[in-house]
Symmetry: C2
Subunit: 332 residues, 2 copies
């Protein structure tokens, strides 16, 4: 039996289960010439998908209503009439939220279950790792001895950003939402300090205290009041990577906050939106470095794995209350 998850309605504010619809059918799928039949193994749920559920102008087109949601998926080839992909191969790519689907192979990459656990290709060796590496390098231009501040530090991207910062010789300060996350980031990921924004009453002062030399690079995954507070600590020539703004994705009104312009002009600072797909030419270089660090044990990662294809919408919704540590993945 094949299951599909459709976008039934566009979320207003925080997404709910009622925005999604399950469709089941018993039709047997079989590939035509040049096609493969795929079975989903791991499904990535990511904050940026929230944007595609709205119909506002953005860098990727919105999902259509009553059509399947799509995201990064690792799947197994269970039947093939394709020259490149054989039965038993594993592939990674942007695929529909379906237990089984037909593909012509476009945009899919073969992945090896021996080199790394399959789920890693959705995380540290997938878009997550590439986002962390390329966002930090291409916009952040980090230099040893500088201070790197990371918000959403216990998230999939943030936890990799912080580790790369340490590998490059920076002082790394994270911002996360629980003491457990904060402790893990310090004990297992090498962060120098972590601020728990849920128990800190004065974020502005907390950042100043944790970053006594100011902030040279701010890797921003969250936006909102946390990012407002960070502005007060930026140094001259600071680089701010806007990778995400999870705190405002569910707002129904235009979000407001501290005006960044006076801070940028005072400090000759730079703030730039980062979308990993703009840097596709650098993927090979980044993958080589990430794989090497991973193989040497210099890069670690956490996953929050939710069991069951049917729990995909809930896993996505749980991202917005920070239920994940590291990459949130559904095991289909």
């Amino acid at each position: 039996m094949n299951q599909t998850i459709l976008l039934k309605s566009r979320p207003e504010g925080t997404p709910t289960l009622s925005n999604f619809e399950f469709q089941k059918d018993d039709k047997t799928l079989s590939p035509s010439e040049g096609e493969i039949l795929l079975e989903a193994k791991y499904i990535s749920v990511d904050p940026y998908l929230r944007g595609r559920m709205s119909d506002a102008k953005s860098y990727v087109p919105p999902f259509n209503l009553n059509e399947p949601v799509a995201s990064g998926v690792v799947a197994e080839v269970i039947a093939s009439k394709h020259d490149t992909f054989k039965t038993g191969d594993f592939v990674s790519g942007m695929l529909a939220w379906k237990t089984q689907q037909i593909s012509n192979g476009d945009g899919l990459t073969k992945v090896s279950a021996e080199l790394a656990p399959l789920s890693a290709y959705l995380g540290v060796l997938g878009m997550t790792g590439l986002t962390a590496y390329l966002g930090l390098h291409e916009i952040g231009k980090p230099k040893a001895g500088e201070t790197l501040l990371v918000s959403g530090a216990a998230g999939a991207v943030g936890s990799v950003v912080g580790q790369i910062g340490k590998l490059l010789g920076l002082r790394v300060v994270g911002i996360a939402g629980t003491d457990e996350k904060a402790n893990l980031l310090k004990s297992d990921f090498g962060f120098d300090e972590v601020i728990n924004y849920n128990t800190t009453t004065d974020m502005l002062q907390a950042i100043k205290t944790s970053c006594p030399d100011g902030v040279d690079v701010y890797f921003d995954n969250v936006g909102g009041t946390i990012s407002d507070a960070a502005l007060f600590s930026i140094n001259r020539f600071a680089r701010i990577i806007i990778c995400g703004a999870i705190s405002v994705y569910n707002k129904t009104e235009t979000p407001t906050g501290v005006s960044v312009q006076p801070f940028l002009v005072k400090n000759s600072a730079l703030m730039q939106g980062f979308i990993v797909s703009n840097y596709a030419d650098k993927f090979p270089e980044a993958m080589t470095q990430l794989s090497e660090w991973l193989a040497k044990g210099q890069l670690t990662y956490r996953e929050t794995i939710v069991e069951g294809f049917e729990n995909t919408p809930q896993a996505f919704i749980d991202l917005f209350s920070g239920k994940n540590t590291g990459k949130m993945i559904v095991k289909a």
Copy 2:
């Protein structure tokens, strides 16, 4: 008689005449070996000076209380014991607000009254022109056919930015505060369209209408609600030059507005604070190009010249209500 203008108190909000104090003395100044005696001819008043009157951390140190204010000044050498500067030479540089002063020549540049009117060295051939040229090129990276939006368009920097945009083949839309300024920018400076923000009730829509292909480069001199409105029209890969934020310089509370982060991430857009002194290595190249355009009559400029050294503080204050068209200069 020598007159000096001191900073008596730090402005709270909009500066007033009471923040300044005049000092007069009859002492005859005479240069020692290696020194020159200067008489101020033209004094530049600029919005950025407001920042130096506060004691907040910024890219230039604050003025000290009960000491002279300083800004760009063109002066005549009226006595010299210096090898480089002779009596009768004109020089430009950062000098105190004094009718006469002694200098050792450091940081001063000789300027020619034959090549251009002396006041131009405080404007189109001075920091103003350099700011316009280098801000636009180094951060804006303008390309022919793109749309350039300029706020504070009738100001000293804005009017040069718009003309350079036209010389480079861009569509140029300005934002200014009176119909007279708007008409002048279109008739004499070649702007394609100008929005009068004082008579426009919906800036967001006005920018959308004037920039039907969106905004690729936004040269921001003002900040505040005008810049908030511009965000809604930025294109993918837009570049926003934060050159000034005159609308918020006099605010006593931290200014707030629309959060820029979601706009930057959606559009892979860049926003960067620009301070001309960071680009000193590019000054010769920029001056060569500006002088060439000026000589060919391809670049025009307006000045608002206020007569009388004693009116310097009022001329500075008048910047914040937009009393100037083009560069505001005091003729000492």
